[in-house]
Structures are given as structure tokens and as C-alpha cells.
């Protein structure tokens, strides 16, 4: 039973910051997809997004029958996506690093040959995939079919809808990266949710007081300030109308990179 004397067993061959990444990804993946967690989330998001949007579609059909104006379906989709998407991400992601630090599983995993960067990246990648799949992509596809089959909007341009969905993905990634970063800066779940909610409401209400905020707000990727005001980027793509500004897209991408960099930097300096 001496070190690695087994004739056939092969050592892991990862170098640099990727040491341990493959296995960390595998472990985090199993926590989502080899348990009931993924379909519970999927069911929850289906109920929230597709349930709400189903009601909107029924209302719009009824309105069309009565000859009146129905609810702004795509605006409401952005509204639900922004509100529930951001809050959902905060609830899911606040546990990711903090709970592992508190429970000691992070210290245990870091006592193995893994880098801290690999640890953060594994949590970011798997949780992003799981959250995007269950809260954006699958509900988005179902919505596309619902709109095409039942609403008076008909079949939207699939390319335009996909581009719009990409904005929802970016908006969700923004909150994932932000909450992950907060998980490395704060030690309590309450604090993380509090700060994240505060930022969300700054973006939600702030542009009314300080209009330039819309240019750095991730919300503007998917939700218009009001249905009759300028279109969100997602709305523009889906309805194939001109985009009011590319700045929110650019600032969201830059913010995500910044948040992830801070999370990695900070986690590498933490003590367990």
C-alpha cells in the first residue's frame, strides 16, 4: 500500500490552475444532475415562467377575440425573467460557496490536489449550466412553441428569438457571477442576498432617478423601462426592431468578467 504502486492505475494529468478541475466539475455536476435537484428546479421554473406566460397568452387570445388590446406578452416575459430570474439566482447561488465554507466541504476538497481557481470555476460552470438550462433555455423553448402555436404573435423569427434568449442568458450570468463574487467577499447568506437585492433594486428603480443607469444595467438586456418606452435588447431581437444601444450588452459582459476575476482573486486569498 505504498504511493501509486498499482501497475495500471493512471495519475491525473492536469497542470497549472486546472489541477483538480475535471473532478470538481464531475462532483458539482452530480450534485445537480444525479439527484432530483435538476428536475425540481425545472418544474419550478416551468411553473413560474411558462405558467405566467401561459396566462398572458390566454389573456391575449381572449382580448383578440373581443377586439381589444391584449397584454404586452414579450414585455411581460422580460419582466418575469428579470424579476424571478435575478431573485432565483440569488437564492440558488448564495449557498454555493458560503455553505461549503461553513460546512467544511470546501476545506476538505481543497485538501486534495486542486487549485482554488479550479474550485471557483467548477462552481461557476456547473451552476451556470444548470441554472441556465432550467430557468432560461427550457422555459424559453417552451415559450417559443407556445407563442407560435397559440398567441397572435405567431411564429417569431427563430434567429431573433435565439438572440433574445442570449440576452436572458447574459442577464442570468450577470447575477450568477455577482452572487458568486459576493460569496467570496461575505460569510453569511443573509448578507449576500441583502447586497444582491439592493443592487437589483438600484437597477430596477434607479433609472427613474438617474437615467444613465440604464446603460450599465443588466436588466435593460431583457426588460424595457416601460412597455411603451424603448425596447430592451431581447425585445428588439425578438421583434426584429433596431437596438437602442449596445452599451448595456457590453457593460454586462465586462461586469461578468470583473465579478468572476474578483471571485477567483478573493477565493485564492481566503483561509479555511
Amino acid at each position: 500500500m505504498s504511493a501509486n504502486t498499482s501497475s495500471q492505475i493512471q495519475l491525473v494529468n492536469e497542470k497549472g490552475w486546472r489541477r483538480g478541475l475535471g473532478n470538481l466539475l464531475r462532483g458539482e455536476y452530480s450534485s445537480w444532475f444525479k439527484s432530483s435537484r435538476w428536475w425540481k428546479h425545472l418544474l419550478m421554473w416551468f411553473a413560474i415562467i411558462n405558467g405566467m406566460m401561459g396566462i398572458m397568452v390566454i389573456a391575449s387570445v381572449k382580448a383578440a377575440e373581443e377586439g381589444s388590446e391584449g397584454p404586452p406578452i414579450l414585455y411581460m416575459y422580460g419582466w418575469f425573467g428579470a424579476m424571478f430570474g435575478a431573485i432565483g439566482v440569488m437564492i440558488i447561488m448564495q449557498r454555493v460557496l458560503v455553505r461549503e465554507k461553513q460546512q467544511g466541504t470546501a476545506a476538505w476538497a481543497l485538501s486534495k490536489p486542486v487549485t482554488r481557481t479550479a474550485f471557483v470555476v467548477s462552481r461557476l460552470v456547473v451552476n451556470s449550466i444548470a441554472i441556465l438550462l432550467t430557468s432560461v433555455i427550457v422555459p424559453g423553448v417552451i415559450l417559443y412553441l407556445t407563442l407560435g402555436l397559440f398567441s397572435d404573435l405567431g411564429w417569431l423569427s427563430s434567429l431573433g428569438f435565439m438572440a433574445g434568449q442570449l440576452m436572458f442568458v447574459l442577464h442570468t450570468l450577470y447575477w450568477i457571477a455577482f452572487v458568486l463574487m459576493m460569496g467570496t467577499l461575505l460569510e453569511s447568506s443573509g448578507g449576500i442576498i441583502g447586497v444582491s437585492m439592493a443592487l437589483f433594486f438600484v437597477f430596477w428603480f434607479g433609472p427613474n432617478l438617474f437615467p444613465p443607469l440604464i446603460y450599465i444595467s443588466p436588466l435593460l438586456l431583457i426588460i424595457s423601462p416601460a412597455p411603451d418606452q424603448l425596447n430592451s435588447l431581447a425585445g428588439s431581437f425578438m421583434t426584429e426592431t433596431p437596438v437602442f444601444s449596445w452599451v448595456p450588452l457590453f457593460s454586462t459582459v465586462v461586469s461578468c468578467i470583473f465579478f468572476i476575476a474578483v471571485a477567483i482573486w478573493r477565493f485564492n486569498r481566503q483561509e479555511f
Binding site: 504511493a3 501509486n4 492505475i9 452530480s30 466541504t105 485538501s111 490536489p113
Partner: protein, 317 residues
Amino acid sequence: MNSNDLVISTEGLSKSFDKVHALKSLNLRVPQKSIFAFLGPNGAGKTTTIKLLLGLLKPTSGGGKILGMDILRDSVDIRARIGYLPQDARFYEHMTARQTLEYTARFFYAGPQAEIDKRVNEMIELVGLEGKADRPIKGFSGGERQRLGIAQAEVNYPDLLILDEPAASLDPQGRRDVLEVMSRLRKYATIFYCTHILDDAQRISDQVAIVNEGELITQTSIEDLLVGTGDLVYSVTLKGDTQSAYTQVTQQSWVSGIETSQENGHATWHLSVTDEAAAEDQLMSLLVSNGLKVSNFSRKEQNLEEVFLNIVERSQK
């Protein structure tokens, strides 16, 4: 001792948390293939030392080497060659014991799967978890978690096992099992462990270090520690008038102290002596020449607990 013979060596390893000096300039030497007990009261700096060695904490000053590698620069390479059992071993609750061991093994081994399965089965057998290997960890008792902890620490056949309180929170049978596993592993790896169960340390360790309030008080072999501290103590049980014998004995230059007690007409003396030969030559004859009947005459063996308490108390004065 040649530095190549050392598995762990630290130089002035120190750690402060704000204004609290948790570890003060630790110079530790852990020889190869030893079972090294790292002892100290609660809060002495034992777990801090282990976390510094593993790279979970960063030293305020000083450094060290494990298996010839620098604990700061080569931390990931070091962790590839050691096994670690944390004090309160916590694993991912959604996994079974087998999945936990496979997950741990995959940090070290890429495959093939059959070889990894073989290793996992070997570890399950090593710690006697055969019947519970496929149950979720959620329902495991403290003892079962601890055994799983030892199995995951050994899964990569490490050159060095670092165990933080491996037998704490276990019932006597669990403790015995863990010590038995540790004894079995000694021929394959150096075992560095901290404990406050001194009986266990005396039973299986060959090297001991005692740390108190962040300072290394002593570091030596267990034999040297048990014989080499303080005076020898003889225990005698006497019948008769002990007055004159007491006066004569206390006047001997090799007697450093006597504790007496009386029970059922018998007097019991615990004599601390500074010269073993003089005591063996003269003590008995002194007692008998004073008309005393000696019903018990023995040299009192010191145990690790007494030595430990002496050393710790002395270090606090």
C-alpha cells in the same frame, strides 16, 4: 537527523489571527515512517498547524517542507502525496460512501475505472464499511463518518497521513478500530496526527510533540518522554510506626519529596527520588531497619497523561 529523513520540517512557522498568536515560531521535525502524535490542550495550535501544512491557512511568518517540497510554493504537489482527515470530517451528503471514495480517488487517478473501483473496494474493506458503502452519508453515525474519513485519506496510498483528532467523538470500540487501522498503516506511511486522548497516543505513537499556547514545548520519542521527565517515583506501603523512618528518609540527599497517606492502619508513601541507584540500594534497608513491615514496594510508572500535564503546567508558569 538528516533532512532527507524528515517528512515534515518547519522553520519558525507562525500564524496570527488579528492580535491572537495562534502559533509561535514552530520548529517541527517529523521523521519518516513514524506515528507522530501532536499533543496539546484545546486551542494550543494543533489544527492551525495542520491547516498551515495543507495550505488551507497562510503563515504569518516562517515556512516549512513536506516530503522535501515547500508548503507555500508546492502546496498542490504536496497534497497529491498526502492524505488528510479533518477534525470534523464533512463530505457531500448527496453521495454514498462509495461515491465519496470514488470522487476522492478521482482527484488523484484518471482511470481505468476497474482499477479505481478496486481501490475503492480495498478502502471500504480497510475500514470495515462493506455493509454501508452504498448508503447515503446523510445517515452515517460519527464513527462511520470517521472511518470513511480515514478511507478517503488513504485512497491515494499517501506517503504521509495527516489526521486531526482521528479518534475523537468515537465510542471505545470505534476508537480501538481507528487505532488498529492506524497501526496497520504505519508500515506504508508516516502518520502525523493530533489528539487529546493521551492513552491512544501512548499506545500507538513512537514520536511525540507537545504544543501549548502556540508554542512547541517538547518533541521527542515517546520512550524518552516517559522516562526523561522529572524524578522517579517509588511507591511503598508500610505497617508500623513510621515516624523515625520518615525523618531518616527525608534527610537522604537523593530524596526530593514524599507524599504520604494513611488507610486501614497502612501508610502509603510516594517518594520522589533523584538517584535511582541510591534509592534501590538504601531505601528498603532504611525502612526495615526502622522496624517497618513493607507490604508493597514498587517503582511508579509515569504515564503520558501525567507527563503531559506536568509539561503543560510547567510551561504555563
